[in-house]
Amino acid sequence: MSAATVNSGYQSETHSTPIEHRFNPYSDNGGTILGIAGEDFSVLAGDTRHTVGYSINSRYEPKVFDAGDNIVVSANGFSADGNALVSRFKNHLKWYHFNNNKKISLSSAARFIQHMLYGKRFFPYYVHTIIAGLDDEGKGAVYSFDPVGSYEREQCRAGGAAASLIMPFLDNQVNFKNQYEPGTDGKVKKELKYLSLEEVIQLVRDAFSSATERHIHVGDGLEILIVTKDGVRTEYFDLKRD
């Protein structure tokens, strides 16, 4: 408090240095997303709860989008940034079509998103981004990004509020981590194999209902976007609303 201010007798309770006010341009809108690649399909799922603090703003605010060209995309975290990123991506995709007269490949889309994210390296989009689709060979593919554009292709990835709850489950159930052939005394790892679409959807539903139990920012509804060579389709399942 500056010297010009009159002593109030409550001096000990007040700050001795001036209070700095700074606007915080970010918030956390909760929610979680999950992408899994299969042999000839991929899925990208997200819950539909939108929160801030302890409040549920909306029980149905979708955050996984069909961007066109058989690519689905979601940016989870600060929802204003997430929406800005997705709509900017869709827009650039339109211009890509004008200029190149062809569909964009998933790998090109991924590289492009890296540039969109890194372009705001010093005022980042506060989001965990995942895109899913099919690669040039028609195999399922998932790419995941950190907020400033570092990215890699993966078999599966969870992002957002409950990522740390879901990811170990995925390691075990998709990539068979810590799974060994029975009777080999932990010497022979269980062989990797592609999961069927039915298995993947069941896995996603289990992951989200478990996350809903343990995480307050996850729940209400689950929307799964499924990409196959025939296009994108959506499935919806209720989650607990408590």
């Binding site: 341009p25 029980r59 800005a84």
Partner: protein
């Protein structure tokens, strides 16, 4: 609570920027449209500074914008809405200025300003009828948006939303609610807000938008049948310590 006599009653850190403040407005969808209400109080810290602030702005033919937060920014936004309407009328090409268009525009303005670290310190609810379907969507100083069958800003998020969700919990419930039920629910919310939110008034404006009656604005509504008998039972505050 900061008891320093020199700070008591002043806008606190959380409310930095909002020297003139207006809180809480509540809205609900029903089968033929929407009902929205906002009280007429403009506070200066804990001082009830203005008691005739109009915070609901009918815009276009079938939309209303409810604004809470800093009042100077509120007045700026209302001028933006006037400009928007004027520009739209210049076009005169038979197209409607819909609630969804207004919301998208405001979201861009708010997100742009937050990205310049110079936010407009408001929370906004845009309500209306788009192609005869109820539209209700929120946007705030961060550019965060969400839509739900019931919405409220400020204290209303804690007090009004739970009451309104008893009437319409899911989007499907909207079809079963008539105008009277919706209006009564909103009026009840305004009363509860007046009971429990110190920075509120029992005088409010109520706007109903429906297919049959268009935009109906009812000003100077008074919260009726108030009962303050519970007050004598409250202990532990002010002079009544035991």
């Amino acid at each position: 609570m900061d008891h320093d006599p020199f700070r008591w009653g002043r806008p606190n850190d959380q409310h930095y920027g909002q020297y003139n403040n207006a809180i809480a407005n509540a809205a609900i969808k029903y089968k033929d449209g929407i009902v929205i209400a906002a009280d007429n109080l403009g506070s200066y810290g804990s001082l009830a500074r203005f008691t005739d602030v109009e915070r609901l702005f009918p815009t276009g033919d079938n939309a209303v914008v409810g604004i809470s937060g800093d009042i100077s920014d509120l007045q700026y936004v209302s001028r933006l809405l006037d400009d928007l309407e004027i520009e739209h009328n210049y076009d005169s090409d038979g197209h409607q200025l819909k609630a969804s268009h207004i919301h998208e525009y405001l979201q861009k303005v708010f997100y742009h300003r937050r990205s310049k670290m110079d936010p407009l310190w408001n929370s906004v609810i845009v309500a209306g009828l788009d192609d005869d379907k109820p539209f209700l969507k929120y946007v705030d100083l961060l550019g965060v948006t969400y839509s739900a069958p019931t919405l409220a800003t400020g204290f209303g998020a804690y007090l009004a939303v739970p009451l309104l969700r008893k009437v319409v919990d899911k989007e499907e419930d909207v079809a079963n609610v008539d105008e009277e039920t919706a209006t009564n629910a909103i009026r009840e919310c305004m009363k509860v807000l007046y009971y429990r939110d110190a920075r509120s008034l029992d005088k409010y404006t109520l706007v109903t938008i429906s297919k049959t009656n268009g935009v109906k604005v009812e000003k100077n509504q008074q919260s009726k049948e108030q009962s303050w008998r519970f007050a004598k039972d409250i202990k532990g505050y002010g002079t009544q310590v035991v």
